[in-house]
């Protein structure tokens, strides 16, 4: 015993309905329990987690003066908190409680009832011997920093930022491109309602810029994050725009004045379908409404001998600064929302579709730009060879549902393909063919949209487009892109000549998603999508407390789902902030200073960087708030000077002896 007078243990065995009692003879175990040294009360009960079950513990502590509690029931993950609460309610330190898992570890995994009963006894004996050595512990309360970092300024990041900012929280929104808006800013109209993407997105983008609670950093990357839930320290690298944000008024005269009279370089926002100058704004409604200079193409950067007509026209405002340097910001936040989005599948990976080889083969994202009134062709569908298409083939599932590329369904392609079919038909009057494996339209209003397309006379051919070629077998095919397909419903091989092909490319994790994952210490699914803590019940949480997910970085989703998820992530973040404090589990490691030799073995081993070396004392020191109780340092310390709460040597040895006492 540990200075608490005589050991008086209360032992409770839960039936969990028949989950435990169906395999383990709970009555026999309870009777046997009474014979264990130190056990004063031994009971079995149908559901220990129920209110009357918990009350049993409270009453027994008061009446029988118990000082230790052992409950043999389910997994600690499920009900450890419940029983610690009951123990505390009875007036004991909650850490005088210990839990035995006789369900997952015993009744669920064994069939032999007698052996299972014996195993339950062994586990309980170990717990009773261990709990005797438990010490009273206190949970640490750490205040939560109310500011929030959001990484990624697409629709998910924007929506989460506005939600939090409207709730009065300060948000740092970090975006690596020169403008926020993400993929949605590139879309023409949105399915199934056909409202214009820019019309619904740009007001939100402007609201971000105007909001007093939002600090927006574009052309920026998070390079480091330290700390723990409630108290993160984040380093953000801000790349130079070569425009001083505070001085620029966004008149854009500098672009007009550039020595390049004609736009010459492929324009990233239009996926190379249009051209831009070395000084440019990605698109007219970009936020922030500032030009950016591309140092790869700007003459001043290449030769230093430009006339700098841009600087001339900017005049006294002096907003152009060719010497602008990268800068670093360090901020403190209490929670983080990752909304880093996706990239589209690179259709060059499947050479048989001819993307990059045949000019009139487009990706769906390029097609969005082509039909967009603000796009490179002002919304006229003009092909790379200058023609207008009379026939168009849209090939679904390119880079989705395919063992050779990505195995998942990208969820949005069916609907955006239908939308593109409708819009291209509307713009050109062309005959449109969709090639699909399955049409998936489970969203609100989606099936109705599919019906609409069917009635518009768009062709739907069930068969994955197998290849695009340009070798004619008939004069009618000359000069065309020929789609070869098995029409699986009719049961015929068909060759369909078209003028334009749209490849409905799938969504995939960013090429650098792995770096982001490591940076924020979260998990990824095998495909590379960020992993939620629970697919149903914690869909926006990660396994790292205080870091939440929103939008496509967690998996392909459409705009409504991204926005809903962003709202959920914002709400989780708010709940965390408004709880004001986080309670940290006390199962942390601590150092017996007199025994520490200062060898520093532990320091590089700590996965949470919780150990530092105090030069003055020549001793290691553990930051309790950072320690997650993994025990790595405890095991590694050569002098045995690191101990861990709830895993003290005597607790563990007694537990082992208890198990081995099986007779």
């Amino acid at each position: 015993m540990n200075g608490n007078g005589n050991l008086r243990v209360g032992l409770y065995i839960c039936h969990c309905g028949t989950n435990i009692a169906g395999t383990i003879d709970v009555k026999a175990v309870a009777a046997w329990g009474e014979t264990l040294p130190g056990v004063v009360v031994s009971r079995e009960y149908k559901y220990m987690c129920s209110d009357p079950g918990q009350q049993l513990i409270v009453d027994d502590v008061r009446e029988q003066h118990l000082n230790r509690i052992v409950v043999a029931s389910c997994s600690p993950l499920l009900h450890e908190q419940t029983f610690r609460g009951a123990t505390a309610k009875a007036g004991l330190n909650p850490f005088f409680f210990h839990m035995v898992n006789v369900r997952e570890h015993d009744s669920w995994v064994h069939e032999d009832k007698q052996a299972a009963t014996e195993k339950a006894k062994d586990l309980i004996r170990a717990a009773v011997r261990r709990v005797a050595f438990h010490k009273p512990l206190e949970k640490k309360r750490v205040p939560i920093h109310p500011d929030v970092l959001i990484v990624g300024g697409g629709i998910a990041g924007i929506h989460a930022a506005l939600t939090l900012a409207n709730a009065g929280k300060h948000v740092y929104l970090v975006e690596r491109e020169p403008t926020i808006g993400g993929h949605m800013a590139k879309f023409d109209k949105t399915f199934p309602t056909l409202d214009c993407a820019a019309c619904i997105l740009t007001p939100k983008m402007t609201a971000v810029k105007k909001h007093p609670n939002i600090t927006l950093w574009t052309l920026s990357d998070v390079t480091q994050i330290e700390g723990y839930v409630g108290n993160f320290t984040v380093t953000v690298k801000r790349h130079p725009r070569y425009i001083i944000e505070d001085l620029c008024v966004g008149c854009l005269e500098c672009i007009e004045a550039c020595v390049y009279k004609q736009a010459k370089y492929p324009d990233e926002f239009n996926l190379g379908l249009g051209k831009r100058k070395p000084i440019y704004i990605p698109f007219p409604q970009a936020v922030p409404q500032l030009p950016v200079i591309d140092r790869e193409t700007c003459i001043e950067f290449k030769s230093g001998r430009c006339k700098k007509t841009c600087v001339e026209v900017c005049g006294d405002r002096k907003a152009i600064d060719f010497k602008q340097q990268e800068s670093t910001e360090t901020i403190n936040v209490g929670s983080v929302i990752l909304a880093t989005g996706f990239q589209v599948f690179d259709a060059r990976r499947l050479p048989y579709y001819g993307y990059g080889k045949f000019p009139n083969v487009y990706t769906s994202l390029e097609a969005e730009r082509l039909i967009n009134a603000a796009g490179p062709t002002q919304g006229e569908v003009i092909l790379r060879d200058g023609r207008k298409p009379k026939t168009v083939g849209i090939l679904h599932c390119i880079g989705s549902r395919d063992e050779n590329t990505n195995r998942w369904c990208s969820r949005v392609c069916c609907m955006y393909s239908l939308k593109l079919a409708h819009l291209i038909k509307e713009h050109t009057g062309a005959e449109i063919f969709n090639f699909y494996i399955d049409i998936r339209t489970p969203g609100k209003g989606f099936e109705e949209f599919y019906q609409r397309l069917l009635n518009e006379g768009v062709h739907f051919i069930r068969g994955k487009g197998a290849e695009i070629n340009t070798w004619p077998l008939d004069p009618s095919e000359e000069g065309k892109l020929i789609i070869r397909v098995e029409d699986t419903l009719i049961g015929k091989i068909r060759r369909i000549p078209v003028d334009m092909v749209v490849l409905s490319v799938g969504l995939e994790p960013h090429a650098d998603a792995g770096d982001v994952r490591r940076l924020f210490n979260i998990s990824c699914s095998s495909e590379g999508w960020f992993l939620e803590r629970h697919p149903k019940l914690a869909p926006v949480n990660t396994f790292t407390d205080g870091i939440f997910l929103a939008g496509c970085c967690q998996g392909p989703k459409d705009i409504p789902d991204s926005v809903a998820q962003a709202g959920a992530a914002a709400a989780e973040s708010l709940a965390l902030i408004d709880s004001k404090f986080v309670e940290l589990e006390p199962n942390t490691a601590y150092i017996l200073e007199e025994a520490c030799s200062g060898c520093k073995t532990c320091i590089p081993l700590c996965p949470y960087s919780a150990i530092s070396f105090v030069e003055a004392k020549k001793k290691a020191e553990i930051n309790e708030a950072l320690c997650k109780g993994c025990g790595t340092c405890v095991a590694a310390c050569p002098s045995g000077s690191i101990r861990q709460n709830l895993f003290e040597d005597e607790e563990i040895f007694e537990e082992i002896k208890g198990v081995l006492a099986h007779a």
Partner: protein, 294 residues
């Protein structure tokens, strides 16, 4: 650089002109070929249609023999090349298959460990000699020749080439010889070789499509890297020239015949006279360039 040479049946039979030119070119490039002793037929694509275990045994026996020599194996026929690679792949992937095949090989005192590399001579030329060095060695550039490459199926299917090599890299061989590259979408589409002589009408059609497309691109020559493709495209061409009086008339040399010509190796050493559709017409149309540079 020395290699174990797995000729396959055709190089000793109807494709001896391919073999002659292969030896001549490898010799000129300082690459040595040592014929695998006691090799047997790889099983091709026919044997597996009767018994897959025996088919894999045939391939594995060759691989086991080649392992003893410890050199990379050069297989100049796409079918042999693929069948040997496939045997390696499947024996590595299917342990029950491997056990059975190993037991059979043990009967003949052979062991298979899967260590040998199977290579196509085209890979060797591109990788070991390189486009640049080859260009420098050309004595008689094939100036004015419009040459379409035809790689056939099995060079890149189902297995991709080693070291990230692509057909586009191979294409560069043609300009290196001084000829014009005729790029050609059908360059890796099936010529129907395995239907030759069985379902003739269908095989014919595939060759017809191939040659017409080559002609549409103004190819004078269709260069092959597989003796089976070579035979198939050549004989079928003769057939429908005779039958339909359709004069496509595109010579179909094996790639080492073309390299040999450009290197200035005497024509008789390259077996040019054994082609059914001779190169004479192309040689006549562009003789000056060819000879002048010699």
């Amino acid at each position: 650089m020395a290699y174990t040479y797995f000729p396959g049946c055709c190089m000793h039979g109807f494709a001896r002109h391919c073999q002659d030119s292969l030896y001549a070119v490898f010799n000129a490039l300082g690459l040595e070929l040592r014929e695998l002793k006691d090799w047997n037929c790889c099983g091709a694509t026919s044997y597996i249609a009767v018994d897959e275990y025996q088919a894999f045994t045939l391939a594995a026996r060759n691989l086991a023999l080649a392992e003893q020599a410890g050199l990379e194996v050069v297989a100049p026929c796409n079918a042999c090349f693929m069948v040997l690679k496939k045997a390696q792949d499947y024996l590595a992937r299917y342990s029950n298959l491997r056990e059975r095949i190993e037991a059979a090989l043990a009967r003949g005192g052979l062991q298979y460990s899967g260590t040998v590399q199977v290579r196509h001579p085209l890979e060797i030329v591109i990788e070991k000699i390189g486009i640049k060095a080859l260009r420098e060695k050309v004595k008689r550039p094939l100036k004015g020749w419009n040459v379409a490459p035809y790689y056939g199926c099995l060079l890149t299917r189902p297995y991709t080439l080693r070291n990230g090599m692509t057909l586009e890299a191979f294409d560069q061989l043609i300009p290196a010889l001084g000829a014009n590259l005729v790029d050609f979408e059908l360059k890796d589409r099936c010529c129907g070789g395995s239907l030759t002589g069985t379902i003739e009408e269908v095989g014919d059609r595939l060759v017809y499509i191939l040659l017409h497309e080559a002609k549409r691109h103004n190819a004078d020559v269709l260069v092959t890297v597989c003796p089976l493709c070579q035979l198939n495209v050549e004989t079928h061409q003769k057939q429908f020239i005779r039958r339909d009086r359709e004069d496509v008339n595109i010579p179909v040399p094996y790639f080492t015949q073309l390299i040999g010509l450009a290197l200035g190796i005497p024509e008789k050493d390259l077996g040019l006279d054994r082609l059914l559709v001779p190169l004479d017409r192309v040689l006549e149309e562009h003789p000056a360039e060819l000879r002048a540079a010699a």
